[in-house]
Structures are given as structure tokens and as C-alpha cells.
Symmetry: C2
Subunit: 331 residues, 2 copies
């Protein structure tokens, strides 16, 4: 039910993904009448792939996390997360209120042992052959060096299991690459990572290195990570809208833009955050994938695909095992 | 002498700017032989506009700030800053080592009364008619809410005096726009700004709002500001290099790119950080402008122009007056 447009976006995405993955079952949590009306319009043959779980409530996009947690236990969001907790679902995908999703996931699923706080992570496609896992994107606005260390471990496991990178290069985001740069938090986290076996820690990287091929996993606190991702998205949107404005600014430009359309489309596609839609909430005893609230149906498909990948790769168990090994081996 | 290419870049920029501003005197601090050899190649008529101050030392780009401060008191950087302190120069412009420039400026010039820490600020052109002043870009990696408040005041004065904006809209960078969002630091700074008369505080903005037209001044700590700016620059560079790659990827693309060249050039220009080269160090008893180390000669001109604007507008005195008024009026 969540997101700016709700089932108008999410149901068509489910139908598309169900056709692509005939072996996957979908439990749609929400208002049965609304969901059924959208399903009726579809041409899905195998209706046994989809089951509706009626929920009398929905979390509003502007609702506070504490209010959602207290008053919306019958909501589509809470129901979906509880299905994961009860192991009736392998993963939860939502385009709803991020704060509420974080609070409810934390409350119902709990963090893995050894993990103090879950993180929001996204894998951003930089080139056709390189993706970077950036975390935390805003799950926690306060995080100390121990938390940054845990993020690094989780990011490393994700890059390995989802992208199949062996020994992913893990870096800490900082204001400079020299050891003396930064605040105590990153300096201490750097020490923890240097001492950790099984983590290929490569040192500090700067903001521009998110878009280079220096690291596979880039770790930072939720405040900085959120700002870094949103700043880049803001610039991307500005470029696309400038491109549009320029293309319509004059008769000559209109013609030029028409001619260069295939080229311009490639750039716009490159800059479209839709293609990496789906931030994952990791560090929990279950899989939760968060789609942009304003995602298109196509973008919501990416979020579902991400959930399928994580479930197939059993990401939470892998993180749990890795963290346990590292904690035991730690001095 | 600073920057990746030193006088090769800085001297031609001085010559260009001197021709444009015949009433401005330039004191060139550095190795007299090197500077003279570059000047000899130029065709500047009025040589009285330029005076060379010979300095036997230069700060290396990778030198630590503390080492520079201790061992490089005869350097071009130290000499230039001391000329400002002695009021023999109206402003210092450098493409050198940022950390050393910060440390030396702080040491020789001192902060204005009421200002605890200087900040690095840049005005980023968003559209033809809108610029945003973003600070701090990395002068301090630790800053509390009081420091954020001082940044806001300084940014507001800059936007007024440099861009001529009356009542500039001042915002705090945060992970969300709702009052409950963020850490204690931004929440407390928001309270200080809400209570301050003479500051048009408009609330929280998110990373993407840097590139919208929501605010004229956006305030954040040096860690986040540095990462936000560099992330955006990294994305901009990626787009430009992708555009180049695509334009050369096939015979057809080559032709398309040639035809659409004027359009593509506009995009590349839009994304070129050169056009806002020149971060200013503000909050000091003198004007210091920092150019990118890898700036082109054209970009270094922008840094000099920024110094001229700040000197003409007497920015330090304006900040001092505004801070004093606000501190007196404060409850």
C-alpha cells in the first residue's frame, strides 16, 4: 500500500516479476478490495503465484515511526514484516514510509547477534561492469567506529554474495585519503578494519571515489551517506532537466536533440536512479528491501529482484556467520 | 607556487585578471626566477600592476599542516597570508595545500571575534540565475551546533554581500525535512537559527536540495559538506567521461556526437566544477581564497575574481558586524 502511488505501481511490478519468476510466491499485504481490483485488470495466468493477505490498516507516508509502531500493528507494513519474522515469507519489499519501515523491522525482526544497528545499503551501478555498495544511507544518524566496522563487514558479505566479488575492496568514506585525515570516528574504524582478518580493507576514499572504481564497498555513517547519495541524485536530476530545457530552448537545439536522441537517452538512463532502486535494510534476522517512495513500476521491479537475490543467497545467515567468526577471532 | 602545476597556471591567470582590472595590484609571492621567467613570456603592458615578493620556500602539496606551520614560515603561502595580516594585501589567493593553508590562515590571521572556527565555503552555480553557498566544505571535521550557527551567519552575510541577495534563505542540511529528523547537532542548530533575528532560516533541506532552488545558503559540518560536494563532482566527471566514451563507441555515435556538439558542450560546461572554482576561507580577520589544486588557468581566474569581490565588499568586516549584533541580541 506504500509509496506515493501505492498499488498503482506495486501491483503491476509484482505481476511482471511473477511472470519472470514462475517459481516464486507473492504474498500481497494490504486492502483486499484495492489489490483485487488491480489484479483483475492483469492478465496473469497462474493466479496461484499470488495470495492476498488482507490488512485493515496502512502506514501513512508522513506518519512518525513511533506512532506507526504503536498504532499500526494491523497495517500492511507490520503484517509483511511479521510474515518474515514467522518465516512465512522469505523477504519483505516496501515502497512505504522509510522511518516506519526501519522502526518496525527493528522491532519485529531484531538485529543479528553481533550487530548493534541495521543499515540501509544500496548497490549503485557506476559502469556496466562495476557496482559500489554504499552504506549507511540513513538508518542511523549517529554511529560510532564499532558500528562503522559492523557496516563494513555487512557490506563485504553483500558484495560477495550478491555481486559474486571475491575479497571485495572495502573503504571508509572520509574528507581525504591520508591516514591523518578525518575525525576520531573514522580513524578508529580504520584501525578496527586494519586489524580484521577476512576483510580487504583498502583505506580511506573521498566523495568523488564513489563514482570511480576504487572500492566495491564504501562505508560511512547514515548522515553522510544519506547526504552523499541524495546530493548525487539531485545533480543527476538537474542534468536531465537541463538537458530537456536545452533541447527545447531553440529551433536549432530541437533538431540537434532529435538527431542525438539515442546518445542523450543513454546519458539519461545512466543518470536514472531507478536502475538501482531498492535499498536493503541489513543486519536484521530477515530480509527487508526498501523501494523509493516515488519509484516507477519498473523501478519497483528492481527492488523485488533485489529481495529475490538476497533470499536466494541467504544474506542474513551469511552476515551472521561472518560477524561471529570475526568477533571470535578479534583480539 | 602551489597547485599541481604551480606558476604555469597561476601566472597566466594573474596576467589575464590584471588586464581586466587595471586598478588592481598583484603581489606575487614565490620564487623570483620562476615567476620572472613566466612574466617575461607575457605581453602585459602595465608591469607596475605586478610586484614579485621573493620567497625562498614553498609548501609541498603533501606536506602535513603542522610541518608546514613549523618549517615553512618563509614559504610563498606563509608570506602571502602575512601580507594580508599586515594589511599590505587585501586578499590571499592560493592553489596550494588546503590543510596547510587552513592552518596558516588560522595561525596568522586569527578568527573574527565571535567566530570559533573558520569555514570553507563555495558558491555553486545551479542555474543561470541561482547560486547556492554551501559550507563547511571541510575546514573542520568536528563541529557542534554553535559552530553550525556561526556558519549560517557567515553564509548569510556572504550571499548578501557577494550575490546581492536580500534576506538569503538559510537552510541546514539534514537526512529529512521534518523537524524530528537528524541528530542532536542539527536539531540544536535549528533551534539557535529559529531564535536568531536577521537570519531567514527556512528549516532543513536534503542532499538533493543543493541542486534545487530551495535555499541560498546551505549549512552542514565539514565532513558532510566535503563528501556532498566531492560526490557531486565525482558524478559530474563520470557523466562527462561517459559522454565521451559513448561519443566514440561507434561510427554512428561519432557522427551523432559531432552534430549535437553544441548541445553536448553546454552539458559538459554545466557540469564543469571550474566554473565555481574558488572556495573561500571565511570567519578570519582577512580574505583567503582557495583554488582547486588541479585548476586550469581559466579556473584560477575565478578564484582571483572571488577574492576581488570579497575585498570590494569588505566581507570580513560585514561578518564581524553581523556576528556582534546577533550575539548582543541573543537571549
Amino acid at each position: 500500500m506504500g509509496g506515493d502511488l501505492g498499488p498503482l505501481i506495486t501491483i503491476p511490478a509484482v505481476i511482471t516479476t511473477a511472470k519472470k519468476h514462475p517459481n516464486i510466491q507473492f504474498l500481497l499485504c494490504g486492502d483486499i478490495d484495492v489489490i483485487q481490483s488491480y489484479l483483475d485488470k492483469s492478465q496473469l495466468q497462474n493466479s496461484e503465484q499470488i495470495e492476498i493477505i488482507h490488512c485493515p490498516q496502512a502506514v501513512a507516508m508522513d506518519e512518525s515511526p513511533s506512532s506507526a509502531l504503536r498504532h499500526k500493528q494491523q497495517s500492511s507494513m507490520a503484517t509483511c514484516i511479521k510474515l518474515v519474522e514467522q518465516e512465512k515469507a522469505a523477504a519483505c519489499v516496501s515502497a512505504g514510509n522509510t522511518g516506519a519501515l526501519l522502526a518496525m523491522s527493528n522491532y519485529y525482526l531484531k538485529t543479528l547477534s553481533g550487530i548493534d544497528r541495521p543499515a540501509l545499503v544500496s548497490s549503485i551501478p557506476i559502469t556496466d561492469s562495476h557496482r559500489v555498495f554504499l552504506l549507511d544511507l540513513g538508518a542511523n544518524v549517529n554511529s560510532d567506529s564499532e558500528i562503522l566496522f559492523q557496516y563494513a563487514v555487512m557490506g563485504s558479505v553483500l558484495a560477495e554474495s550478491i555481486e559474486g566479488i571475491s575479497e571485495p575492496r572495502v573503504a571508509l568514506l572520509n574528507v581525504g585519503t591520508e591516514q591523518m585525515k578525518g575525525n576520531d570516528k573514522v580513524k578508529n574504524a580504520a584501525q578496527l578494519l586494519t586489524d580484521a582478518p577476512d576483510i580487504s580493507y583498502i583505506g580511506f576514499v573521498e566523495g568523488n571515489d564513489i563514482f570511480s572504481n576504487k572500492a566495491d564497498v564504501i562505508v560511512t555513517d547514515g548522515f553522510t551517506g544519506n547526504v552523499a547519495l541524495k546530493s548525487s541524485e539531485g545533480l543527476a536530476k538537474l542534468v536531465v532537466s537541463e538537458l530537456k530545457r536545452l533541447s527545447e530552448a531553440s529551433w536549432l537545439n530541437k533538431v540537434l536533440a532529435k538527431i542525438a536522441l539515442p546518445l542523450l537517452k543513454s546519458i539519461v538512463k545512466q543518470m536514472n536512479p531507478d536502475q538501482y532502486n531498492g535499498a536493503s535494510l541489513i543486519g536484521l534476522r530477515g530480509i527487508v528491501v526498501k523501494s523509493h517512495g516515488n519509484a516507477s513500476s519498473e523501478a519497483f521491479c528492481y527492488a523485488i529482484e533485489e529481495a529475490i537475490r538476497q533470499a536466494t543467497q541467504q544474506v542474513p545467515i551469511r552476515i551472521k556467520n561472518r560477524i561471529e567468526t570475526l568477533l571470535i577471532e578479534r583480539p
